[in-house]
């Protein structure tokens, strides 16, 4: 009985602040509330229909897909590469691990501010700045880009910063996984004449599948929610080229007072994340109780 009393306040708080609030937002998304004063006239799914017809929202969804795709691929491959390198029992491994994990202690705002500076392309008249200048100096001027100022590049500039921040995390997950693979397994494969690439391809990578899945879910849900980094680094960008739904929601709700539309975006975001997270949560908790 006491146990119930002990967690009751927390459970109640979450019930209200998470589930109750989501309920309210869902309700608000079905109303005509488009000014500061609430207007709870029921309009059905009209806000959603309009959202999907809005050019900005269409761009946002496309950006989310682009961001998620590039972010997952770059983060997973870089994280895996770093983990494999660190797994070679190199000297000063701890130092490298700390360096790669370090960005995780930083705020997306700090990362965004710094990367905005690094990726500032400069101008034709005055010359290159930031990364572009560095590329010029080392003779790779070819790779210069307008980064986030170029509508075609847009959201991918944010991917660079996000990868810088998060790949250490993937590395840590993979490293823990690699350390969990018994050395005998790899040794046995080597005795059978497998090259070290084959060992990774056929033994290590399949064994790391559960970790890859976990990383995809975690990174995927971060990329669906990405907001701070976009705010600090680029804002919506030219032609909304680096806009994302989370930013659109913030913009339309708290700057434009279009609460119903904002609520609609929020609910769409929530549904996308639930589709990703709920099966994973259920699966994780199931396997836990079986153990």
């Amino acid at each position: 009985m006491t146990s119930l009393l002990l967690i009751a306040p927390s459970v109640l708080a979450v019930a209200v602040f998470v589930y109750g609030f989501i309920g309210f937002t869902a309700f608000a998304s079905l109303t005509k509330w488009d000014a500061l004063a609430p207007d709870f006239t029921f309009v059905g799914l009209r806000n959603y229909v309009r959202l999907f017809e809005t050019v900005r929202f269409q761009i946002d969804l496309r950006n989310t897909v682009t961001f998620t795709g590039f972010f997952l691929v770059s983060c997973l491959s870089l994280g895996f590469l770093l983990a494999v390198l660190l797994d070679q029992r190199i000297r000063a491994e701890g130092v490298f691990r700390s360096i790669f994990l370090f960005p995780l202690a930083l705020s997306f705002i700090v990362t965004g501010v710094v990367w905005r500076w690094l990726l500032n392309p400069g101008s034709v008249q005055l010359g290159s700045t930031g990364i572009n200048l560095l590329l010029d100096r080392i003779g790779l001027g070819l790779l210069k880009s307008g980064w986030y100022t170029d509508p075609k590049f847009g959201i991918k500039a944010v991917v660079i910063a996000a990868t810088w921040q998060m790949s250490g995390y993937v590395m840590a997950m993979y490293l823990a996984g690699l350390r969990g693979i018994p050395e005998e397994l790899r040794e046995a494969a080597r005795v059978d004449g497998a090259s070290s690439f084959q060992v990774y391809r056929h033994i290590v990578v399949p064994l790391l599948n559960p970790i890859t899945l976990g990383a995809v879910i975690i990174l995927g849900h971060i990329s669906l929610k990405i907001f701070d980094l976009v705010v600090a680094m680029t804002g919506p960008g030219p032609g909304f080229s680096s806009d994302v739904p989370a930013f659109f929601m913030f913009d339309t709700t708290f700057r434009g007072n279009n609460f119903a539309q904002g609520a609609g975006i929020a609910i769409i975001l929530l549904v996308m994340i639930a589709v990703l997270i709920v099966p994973y949560l259920v699966y994780s908790l199931r396997t836990e109780t079986q153990r």
Binding site: F102, L106, T253
Partner: protein, 255 residues
Amino acid sequence: MLVVTGMKSFQEVNLYRMWDVPARISLDSFITAWFGSESQGFRGLQHNFWNSVRLAVPGTLLSALLGSMNGYVLARWKFRGADAVFALLLFGMFIPYQSILIPLVRVLSAVGLYGSIPGLIVTHVVYGLPITTLIFRNYYATVPGELVEAARIDGAGMLGIYRRIIFPISMPGFAVVMIWQFTSIWNDFLFGVIVTPRPAVQPIMVALNNLAGSYIVEWNVQMAGALLAALPTMILYIVLGRYFMRGLLAGSLKG
């Protein structure tokens, strides 16, 4: 990499010379970022830095205490439906906070906490419940059941067991949770920008974003500001990195 960038900000940075090694080390840009500049008309970060301290310290302590009690109950005193409660709680960790912002602002206004640091503390504590509970639950799952059992036979009540047996051995759990919560509260931007619209009350990340967003502030001052804003979590990471790591993996492998 950031440290290198930070070093750059020592010099009177000129965008076209940013990869050069600073000719001389000067702390001017840090002073400007901290105190602001009256001639250029922008506020320094000092007040916002202390706002963040007054937000993150109590927020972290409260979160950790609640998380510890919840984790203890959910790990040790299984009641019917405990797993379902836990699952519902965990989902709260993943939701996009956009989906709760509108009612959050209304509720905080209604109780008079909107626009204040206590309002932000409440927000962070509530939305921190899932992760802190998760970390403590996993931590307490490793505590031998016999320990609790023996105390129960001796007639200790649940609160007594918590206070005399569980709490004293919880320090590693507290370290992990407190570092995690401090870092997330310190680094937060979304709640800060929504709940505290007045610049004088805003936490540091919101202020840093404003500083960086204004065209009158030079890059070197922005970088110095970024470094100042990042300093507490950087130090925490350098000193207590291993606990940081554990929180990180706890948040992922089970979540």
